[in-house]
């Protein structure tokens, strides 16, 4: 156990990490955001969704450091008197939840299809890859919009709200599986032709299982990079859909929803209602992208 730890510390990856203060900063920031989001019920200064604690008189309070601000509401309040800082923390929770779950689902589907496609080959491979190609020529947002729109129609307004989050996760996952499938398929094709697979077949063992244990380690690096960057994209996609009004239901606002709500007050001067959720979104995605970008370069064998 200690040996593995020592090996990690001595590895090129850790060395590269230590030399990039920007990445270290991003990692710390991301960690803070993650903790703040998941511990929101425990550490948020207010509960913005408990209607009993809301007071309309508190509405439209500007941030604490301005003249009319109050210390209790550090980043101000919105039109219903909800504390912006708390809504941001709860909102990040939803955003992160949808983003990470969507990516996880996408990864599982993509890796599985990639393995099957590469291993089985033939018509199955051609079919899966054709769908992938067609899907690739459409931007993810459109696909997510379509799935969401169809679900909305099929389930009706109220039925949809209950499962909106799941539909959203599915929609975002469906729009992003292709990149994993392609990477894994490539790796699988390479492994399939190797002699140990044929040898396994000869002695009667299932080459499939052995192949997975050889393919997956090779492919985990690039898949991990893809996944990290994908989380950023997924969060943006969810925020966009919520901003457009076709994402999460209003009962579970994400950062995108918050921005949309605040947008209405932009012209009347209450800029903080939309700006702070926006800044939070950017910080979240930016730190993830910085880490993903660094990871891609650090794991790229050509740049060693």
């Amino acid at each position: 156990m200690i040996d593995t730890f020592k090996r990690v510390l001595d590895s090129d990856l850790w060395y590269s990490f230590k030399r990039h203060p920007l990445v270290i900063g991003a990692a710390i920031l991301a960690l803070i955001c993650l903790l703040g989001a998941f511990l929101a019920p425990l550490i948020a200064p207010h509960n913005p969704f408990d209607l009993k604690t809301l007071n309309l008189l508190d509405a439209f309070t500007p941030p604490a450091w301005t003249e009319a601000g109050k210390a209790a509401f550090f980043l101000g309040t919105d039109d219903q008197g909800r504390d912006v800082l708390s809504t941001i923390m709860y909102g990040s929770r939803v955003s992160l939840l949808v983003g990470i779950c969507a990516v996880a689902l996408s990864m599982v589907v993509g890796i599985t299809l990639g393995l099957i496609s590469g291993y089985v080959g033939g018509a199955v491979d051609a079919f899966i890859m054709r769908i992938a190609d067609i899907q690739l020529s459409f931007p993810a947002i459109l696909i997510a919009l379509l799935i969401d729109g169809v679900a909305r129609v099929v389930m009706g307004k109220d039925g949809h709200d209950d499962v909106a989050v799941y539909v959203l996760i599915f929609a975002i996952a469906a729009s992003g599986w292709v990149q994993y499938a392609r990477t894994v398929r490539g790796s699988t094709l390479v492994e399939r032709n190797k002699e140990y697979v044929q040898a396994a077949r000869v002695i009667g063992r299932k080459p499939l299982i052995i192949m997975f244990s050889h393919v997956l380690p090779n492919v985990m690096g690039p898949v991990f990079v893809l996944a990290t960057l994908h989380v950023g994209t997924a969060i943006i996609t969810e925020a966009t859909l919520s901003f457009l009004g076709v994402g999460v239901p209003p009962t579970q606002p994400s950062l995108g929803t918050l921005i949309r709500i605040g947008n209405d007050f932009l012209f009347s001067g209450e800029w903080w209602i939309t700006v702070f959720p926006g800044v939070m979104l950017v910080i979240l995605v930016l730190s993830i992208n910085i880490i993903g970008d660094w990871l891609r370069d650090a794991l790229n064998p050509k740049l060693r």
Binding site: I134, P139, G149, V150, R152, V153, T240, F243, L286
Partner: protein
């Protein structure tokens, strides 16, 4: 080469049929097609007639064929929300979206390519590193947020540019343009920057990555070994080899730009197809959704085809020559 064109055309038709199938299922299975084609005050007799004329008593593949036939002629029925023929609505709004998309694409190319070349050639200057970090921020900013920030700064706080609408447009009959009036030009700036932000970032990073790859190749090394000037090496050789894949990838981006216009149009209330589509999704206006889907599908397929053909023009290795190689 002819075989290639034919094959790609067939592929494109297949993709279009697939898109059409999805649109068809939208039409028929998600909602009642009869009411989709009729205004709400229609009588029972009218419905029966439409049912017959729609061929809903016909077998499945006949229905599909009719749908495709209608689609090809541009007939997608009546919008549930606005009560007007969908094709008319789309035709009205197409110019707005296309002008916006084109402007954004032009920004992408004319800003992204030079910045990409600069950051590749002058890797160690701090300006380069600044641009690179900026590009990372650009990729992390969602489209709508850029729009909101731009509106906040330039429309609300500085009051320099309008924050919604197209401004004054000139009607050219089949096309309405905003380029011929100052109001129109002022109105398109913020939306075009918003829409073009992501392409600029993407193209810049792409050009940089590609150029760095090219600068590592043997033929660049050989060119230097022959004593060619830096200009000749960088702009004569490296740039050309870099731009070949970049131009084609950018072409593929065009479809994406048109799709992302949905968001920009929403933020700026730009009267284009994207805004129409979003309103359709919110309202469950199936005919508009189906029509938009087919149109977008067509644009994508057409752009892909053109880009593939462009490769032939640009890369001599793909052109088939007669008896090229001599002996040893």
């Amino acid at each position: 080469m002819l075989a290639f064109i034919v094959r790609r055309l067939l592929q494109s038709i297949l993709v279009m049929l697939a898109v059409g199938a999805i649109a068809f299922s939208l039409f028929n299975f998600v909602g009642d097609p009869v009411s989709l084609m009729l205004p709400p005050e229609a009588t029972q007799a009218d419905r029966e007639e439409v049912r017959k004329s729609l061929g809903l008593d016909q077998p499945f593949y006949v229905q599909f064929a009719t749908f495709i036939g209608n689609a090809v002629q541009g007939n997608f029925g009546i919008s549930l929300r606005l009560g007007r023929p969908v094709s008319q609505l789309l035709a009205e709004r197409l110019p707005a979206t296309l002008e916006l998309a084109m402007t954004a694409a032009v920004f992408g190319l004319f800003v992204g390519i030079p910045m990409g070349v600069y950051t590749a050639l002058k890797r160690d200057k701090w300006t380069s590193k600044l641009l690179l970090t900026g590009s990372l921020v650009g990729v992390s900013l969602p489209n709508f947020l850029i729009g909101i920030f731009l509106i906040l700064i330039f429309a609300v706080w500085l009051g320099w540019l309008p924050s919604f609408g197209r401004g004054e447009v000139t009607d050219l009959g089949f096309w309405t343009t905003g380029f011929l009036t100052t109001e129109g030009l002022r109105a398109i700036i913020l939306p075009a920057i918003t829409l073009g932000f992501y392409p600029i970032t993407l193209i810049m990073r792409l050009v940089r990555a590609e150029m760095l790859e090219v600068l590592r190749t043997d033929y660049i090394k050989f060119a230097r070994a022959r004593g060619l000037t830096n200009n000749a090496v960088h702009f004569g050789h490296a740039l050309k080899n870099t731009l070949v894949p970049v131009i084609t990838i950018t072409g593929l981006q065009l479809g994406g730009i048109i799709a992302f216009a949905i968001i920009t149009e929403t933020v700026f209330q730009w009267p284009g197809m994207g805004l129409l589509f979003i309103q359709a999704v919110q309202f469950a206006d199936i005919p508009v959704m189906a029509a938009y889907l087919c149109l977008i599908g067509f644009i994508f397929v057409a752009v892909n085809l053109i880009v593939d053909l462009l490769y032939f023009v640009v890369d001599p290795r793909l052109r088939v020559e007669q008896s090229g190689s001599g002996g040893h």
